[in-house]
Amino acid sequence: MTIIDRMKSPQSTVFTLGQDADVELLFELLRRQYPVHEVSAAQLKRHYLDSFDWRLYRNNRVCGWDMPDGGERKQNAGVFFVQDRKTGDNVCECSIDRIPRFSRDIVHRICRRILDDLLDVRALMPVVAVAVRSRQFNILNKENKTVAVVRMESHALAGGMDKAFHTGRLIVSPVKGYRKIFMQLRRYISGQLRLPYEQIALLDEILAAIGKAPDSSVYASVCRLDDSLNTWEAARILLRHLFRVIRTNESGLRDAVDTEFLHDYRVAVRRTRSLLSQIKYIFPARRLAYFKREFYWLGQITGPVRDLDVYLLTFDAYRQALPRAMQEHITPFHVFLERHRKIEHARLCRKLESKRYQQLIKEWREMLDSENVQSCVIWPQSVAPLETINANKPIRQVAGKRITKLYKRILQEGNSITPESRDEELHELRKTCKKFRYLVEFFHDFYPENVVRDLLKTLKQLQDHLGEFQDLYVQTIQLCGFAEQMQQEELADAKTIMAMGVLVEKLNARKAVVRAEFEHCFSTFAQPDNRVAFMNTFSLQHQSRDRTV
């Protein structure tokens, strides 16, 4: 990058350039009006990228990788960029010779930081590829200083795409401090050259042309519910949504694109299990037992890979926690984790191919396709009415009752924890909190937004605390096991074992601190104001009083 090769500052203006537009003539007309210098003419292939859950798009960003088309491929000829989705203005760019997968693959400090904030641990995946022809002209002043930039671009779908698509744009970009010339230029292009202003962002136009749209179902954790629904209808909507999340994450999980596929898959399985166990008497008992068992199994088989993912994601923090001289000594632990992750992942993929899994998917789909609980073809012939007694009750009533019950259980379990309580008791409380949170999130539409938000905020703080404690509890035990296993596999020497021992000590010390903070953390959640706010909103008495009034 020497002279401005892309747009300078925000708020570029984009004009539509018809397919038959004569670029040479436009250039000539501009040249008659302003001192113009042609900076570049390029033909390139642009790969638009985003995460599976469209994190960049949702944050009004577009990112991609440009590679000069044709000719000899030079080293570092590719350019990675992040742009504003609406204006197409560059936020950052850097040279890189292949499509980056993660933000960590980018060396360029600023690009990496921007992408880190947007992507976190998610991988970039291809969205669409387009062929771009681009010419750039700088508008100069008397000092030969660039005071505005004009770019003409034409885009067509890159090879392999069936649909014909072609769009052209003329983009005028201001240079900071030279607004007057920019406005003049805009007026000239719009008034004299009669080019219309472009209304649709380029990526949106391309996505529309190929019939692709950011799918909100892959990132929305909950869906909206009407409180006039009966319990079976509401549960079916929620479970169908969760089933869709499970299915959409499956391929990314198998291909090990990034760790979030498995994470989201597991969360959807956990939420499903939570609904099955918390919203009672809507499924016939035998079927319920089958699905509960099978979803529990899914949780079990996906656990080992997730555990290893967590270790790998935390590895840098482990390294940092050690004294500088010991930091390199735990490198074999990383090798061990990577190795076992591969093994466990292959094992998991085999289980996802199994008849048992296919059967579960088939039966679960059939059940969710049933219009009502009685018409379900897969129910056994004889279902006692009591087994599905809640199915036709209003969801608001059933959910409210359950949420209140779980809230009371959290208070009871939390209050009974003393400094002498066993670690397992905190884990039980953590599980109850999780169930409670899922229910509140499922049915949040029924309650005032601000109350739910405040409740979830304090709950999340408590959950984070309990989560950290549980992680430390498990990790201190597992790390000792890993150290032994590494010795058996001849992966660890004395230095590594010693470093891991130091790590366990550090984790134990942190665990003690977190444990000591529990009382304060829980009392914040359970303080009287929060209790009153909860009871006023969620208690059944209050709801029925509301209705009577």
Partner: protein, 244 residues
């Protein structure tokens, strides 16, 4: 945001060349960078082909509610902006003196730009004045180009004394040898036996015609002579400053 001031009591030591080249290199890495040409001679503005003039001059900047960002101009390089010089900056000392806390005004002016830039480079005029005091108070790092000559080394002592007198932490001051001519025995001797009373960067900027050619090309060295000795020296200097 980090503020890096390029300062020396002595003139003609390569302050502007260092500011322009380091600012360009910072922007090249993608950092949002601003150069403020505080020298009424306006050499940095000239290098960037930008008219050394701001509306209402330096006084307007200090007195009006107008923010510094309103006079910022984009350069020809991505992520690199400039606050141009103005001839009225020659009176800036007197104008600063009219304010309460006169030594903190530049720092105050830069504050609103904190979120907009990763680096702000100040190209300072030579001399010891209220502007110098303002600059030293505003900067996180003060880099001091120093020609390896007796008089130049004397100014290093003077800067040290000045910092002490004004209560500025001298550890923020980093000197580096500039315009080194290896044909000169004195230059070689001083570089080999550098003064011990100041933090000295390892990188030295050679006396090179490419630096002088910046005035012809009106571009940073790395733009028109990327692989030259001078360009590589500035790159090394920037890497060293970054690593601190």
């Amino acid at each position: 945001m980090k503020v890096i001031a390029c300062y020396n009591i002595k003139g003609g030591v390569g302050k502007t060349a260092a500011t322009v080249n380091l600012g360009y290199l910072a922007a090249l890495e993608g950092a949002r960078t601003l150069v403020w040409d505080l020298d009424p001679q306006g050499a940095a503005s000239f290098y960037f082909r930008i008219k050394p003039k701001i509306k209402k001059g330096g006084k307007g900047l200090l007195t009006s509610k107008k923010m510094l960002r309103d006079v910022v101009k984009g350069t020809d390089y991505q992520h690199l902006d400039l606050v141009p010089a103005d001839f009225s900056y020659r009176h800036l000392d007197l104008q600063l003196d009219d304010f309460k806390n006169p030594d903190m005004q530049i720092r105050k002016l830069l504050k609103p730009l904190k979120a907009e830039y990763d680096y702000i480079f100040l190209d300072c005029p030579p001399g010891v004045s209220l502007i110098s005091e303002n600059i030293l108070n505003a900067a996180d790092r003060i880099i001091v180009p120093t020609i390896p000559t007796t008089l130049s080394l004397r100014t290093l002592d003077q800067i040290g004394d000045f910092c002490e007198k004004t209560g500025i932490i001298s550890s923020r001051v980093l000197a580096f040898f500039s315009m080194i001519d290896n044909r000169k025995k004195l230059h070689r001797q001083i570089v080999e036996n550098p003064p011990a009373n100041v933090q000295l960067l390892k990188t030295c900027i050679p006396y090179a015609s490419d630096v002088e050619l910046m005035g012809i090309h009106r571009q940073p060295v790395a733009v028109f002579a990327k692989n030259s000795r001078a360009s590589q020296a500035y790159q090394a200097l920037w890497s060293e400053i970054m690593s601190l």
